[in-house]
């Protein structure tokens, strides 16, 4: 499948904090003389739009993972400071469960497409 191949040899490795890929990660690129530029992405056809969408999906996945970690830490603090109040502990529990469900949705959606697309 076409976009799996683009995932395999991503030609343009630029990122933020070493975590987020750039929107042009999967675009074909040429070497650049300017050291401030990671690469020179090229828009060859309309098809390039889907490569940009693939990069945005990867950014969204990482944002989802980081948000899940933040929310679970917040819920843990809520649990710790609940002082045995059943209402607060229930809220903290549902917060953690929701965060895990949301993370599962995001990861499963991405994995399913990669799996189905890879089987063609």
């Amino acid at each position: 499948m076409w976009f799996i191949n683009y995932f395999a040899d991503a030609p343009c490795p630029g990122n933020l904090f070493g975590i987020f890929p750039t929107w042009y990660s999967y675009l074909p690129s040429t070497p650049d003389a300017n050291p401030n530029h990671y690469c020179t992405p090229q828009l060859n056809s309309l098809d390039s739009i889907w490569l940009i969408v693939a990069a945005v999906i990867e950014i969204l996945l990482r944002v989802a993972a980081i948000a899940a970690v933040g929310v679970i830490v917040y819920a843990g603090i809520m649990y710790t400071t609940s002082q045995g109040s059943p209402e607060t502990t229930a809220k903290a529990k549902s917060t953690i469960i929701n965060a895990l469900i949301g993370l599962a949705f995001s990861v499963i959606a991405a994995t399913l497409v990669a799996f189905i697309a890879g089987s063609f």
């Binding site: 750039t22 530029h37 990671y38 309309l46 969408v53 944002v63 980081i66 929701n98 995001s106 959606a109």
Partner: protein, 149 residues
């Protein structure tokens, strides 16, 4: 309290997204439209050839490469090129939508109304995917070999 937390989380996500865009903008200046010769789409001429009576089909050229094959009736050639292009992206767009719904679910922090919004988005994405699959199947049944080759 929960609303304040959710708004802060959205703000942080927005900030990170903005930083990603700013970080990438250095490459924006040098982004250029090169000649389309090595990719899947490679024909700027829509329509062409002869029909069954020996008459020439009318042709036209496009500025952007829509993926025309350069044969057959011009308008059909253009339409099938665009359909092929959109077909490539359906899965990606649906996945992006579901991942966004997942982020909504994560940030909901146990608020039933917010989780309902996220579930609604996921359901709509899956319905959209199913609609596309059925439309694609019907199109392939009506015009065999037009899209799936």
């Amino acid at each position: 309290m929960l609303h304040i937390f959710r708004n802060i989380a959205y703000l942080v996500i927005l900030l990170v997204m903005t930083m990603i865009v700013i970080n990438s903008s250095a490459a924006f200046a040098d982004t250029k439209l090169s000649s389309p010769n090595e990719t899947y789409f490679s024909n700027l001429t829509c329509g062409g050839g002869k029909d069954q009576y020996g008459n020439n089909y009318s042709q036209f050229t496009t500025v952007i490469d829509f993926g025309c094959e350069g044969k057959g009736p011009a308008i059909l050639d253009l339409i099938f090129g665009v359909i092929k292009f959109l077909t490539d992206g359906v899965g990606l767009v649906v996945v992006a939508s579901i991942i966004y719904a997942g982020i909504q679910y994560i940030v909901s922090t146990g608020d039933p109304q917010a989780t309902a919004t996220a579930v609604k988005r996921i359901r709509s994405s899956i319905v959209a995917l199913l609609l596309f699959i059925f439309a694609y199947a019907i199109l392939n049944y009506v015009v065999p070999g037009a899209v799936l080759q």
